[in-house]
Amino acid sequence: MSSPPDLAVDLGGIALRNPVLTASGTFGYGTELAPWIDLRRIGGIVSKSLTLRPRHGNLPRRIAETPAGMLNAIGLENVGVDAFLEEKLPALPDGVPVIASLFGTEIGEYRAVAERLSECDRVAGLEINASCPHVKAGGIEFGQDPGHLARLVREVRRATRLPLLVKLSPNVTDIARMAQVCEGEGADAIALINTLQALDVDVETRRPVLRNVLGGLSGPAIRPVALRMVFQAARAVSIPVCGIGGIETGEDAVKFLLCGATAVQVGTANYLDPAAALRVVEGIAEYCRRAGVASVRELVGGIELPAG
């Protein structure tokens, strides 16, 4: 019997026991799923995006099922950074890396949240949620404009010494350029993709299904798009990439690793099965055993492209 595969990875300075994190906004603050999953057996968790003050979120209807996926427009409901630090974080077991996702309607708010989070030893890293409409720029997402994104990453970088991830919006023409912008401004890693901007309509009422009109598409439906973007982004930068988008199984995760991701995040699948992230960990280990892979790190960027 050979030794078990080595699943440990380093994601931009965050040491993970395995490459499987839970995606922001799909795993609450970590404690909600504790009845069903041992958090110490997954790589770590990414918190719900935190703002300076608590946010109530959007009116219903907030979610809708779509073919092999779902739409959401939750409106960034969250308890705020102070309640996260004082109530949510201490409730998590030791030994679970926690990456705090942060968000603001202006760069100053991002910076203030980053500073608060950086005071806490329990936070292993930060993830900038750049898919937020930039109020002063007329509502365009920070992550959709290279100039806005560069300023955002630069300012947050100045506010923290923690490992800094930037979660990229897929709603752009050139994802490689966005990845390079983050690397150039000192990000330690990038994570992609966030949800794809989408819409569904009820033909009986002739109204948008979601109260917010537009929502973000997630789930298996977006997986091939996510793989393509991870592939392109990973080839454009030398910082680690964290792959996100419709991952449900170990094999799904391995595809992202082969396309250049160092780690992955499991999102919508958590709704279907609160132990989904653990199943992905087990699935990666099983693949490694089957394929004779000693360390999961050997898989990163290992896609075999056709010659010429």
């Binding site: 099922e65 958590n270 709704y271 279907l272």
Partner: protein, 272 residues
């Protein structure tokens, strides 16, 4: 491992029976090892996932737990009454004996039972009826119970025979008049409130029905416990999709803070 009553499981539920009982509703009987019981009004997320390897439909469906036989026994049976009204429930209706479904539950906070000696009035409309059978059974052990059930037609009155088998006063309304009074179930409420002045009032059904029930009861100075049916993706408080607006601002999660709420706390104007 056996769960304590109410402790939520993530279980493989084997289909024992999935029988059509009306033009559009079915009775699903599931063997759920370890299921330790539930409080009336709690629900489970049933995953059509294993039925649909293509992951379409993707999401599990919240289903009221209708009743449970042999709670705490090695192989308890969980019963679900449901109506086919979309792709998820259509996939569920195709499940055959022996197939395995994903089940997470019981979830949420159910109905607070009436006090010992206190009566109860239960108002159920459409699929909301499925949330009320266990409540009716337990409330009947504490005091007199009146159950008011409504549907479009007699054939759509889910579980009618099970309610008839309980020792309680049953009143029915159908929109086509095929059974009981013609009209909506909420029309039966004022008389019931007058007959049972001290009874606790409970409601489950479509949002407009619960809203009317709440308004009629409030006009008589009576609070209502209403079980909401908002769409949800997870059932355990992380997708935040099922938020119900509260009077005075903010939201509560139907899955975690409910599904049962004091109807006066809900901002019905801002419900989807």
């Amino acid at each position: 491992m056996r769960a304590e009553p109410g402790e939520p499981l993530r279980a493989r539920a084997r289909v024992l029976e999935n029988r059509r009982e009306g033009p559009s509703h079915l009775r699903l009987r599931l063997a759920v090892p370890g299921f330790g019981g539930f409080s009336p009004g709690q629900f489970a997320m049933l995953s059509p996932g294993p039925l649909t390897p293509s992951r379409d439909p993707l999401l599990p469906r919240p289903m009221a737990i209708y009743r449970c036989e042999g709670e705490g026994a090695p192989d308890p049976v969980v019963e679900i009454l449901y109506k086919v009204h979309g792709r998820g429930t259509a996939a569920l209706a195709a499940a055959r004996e022996g197939e395995v479904l994903g089940l997470v539950g019981p979830l949420g906070r159910g109905f607070p039972l009436p006090a010992e000696g206190e009566g109860a009035i239960l108002v159920g409309g459409g699929t909301g009826i499925a949330s009320l059978l266990e409540l009716a059974r337990r409330a009947a052990a504490r005091g007199p119970v009146e159950v008011l059930l409504g549907a479009r037609a007699e054939s759509e009155l889910m579980g009618l025979g099970d309610f008839e088998a309980l020792d309680l006063a049953l009143h029915v309304a159908t929109e086509d008049g095929s059974r009981g009074r013609r009209g909506r179930v909420t029309a039966l409420l004022p008389d019931a409130l007058a007959r049972a002045p001290g009874a606790a009032v409970y409601a489950c059904g479509p949002t407009p029905m619960m809203r009317v029930a709440a308004e009629r009861a409030a006009a008589a100075g009576r609070p209502v416990r209403a079980s909401l049916e908002n769409p949800m993706a997870c059932g355990f408080g992380v997708c935040l999709g099922c938020a119900a607006p509260l009077r005075g601002g903010g939201f509560a999660l139907v899955c975690r803070d409910g599904p049962v709420f004091d109807a006066a706390a809900v901002d019905w104007d801002r419900m989807a």
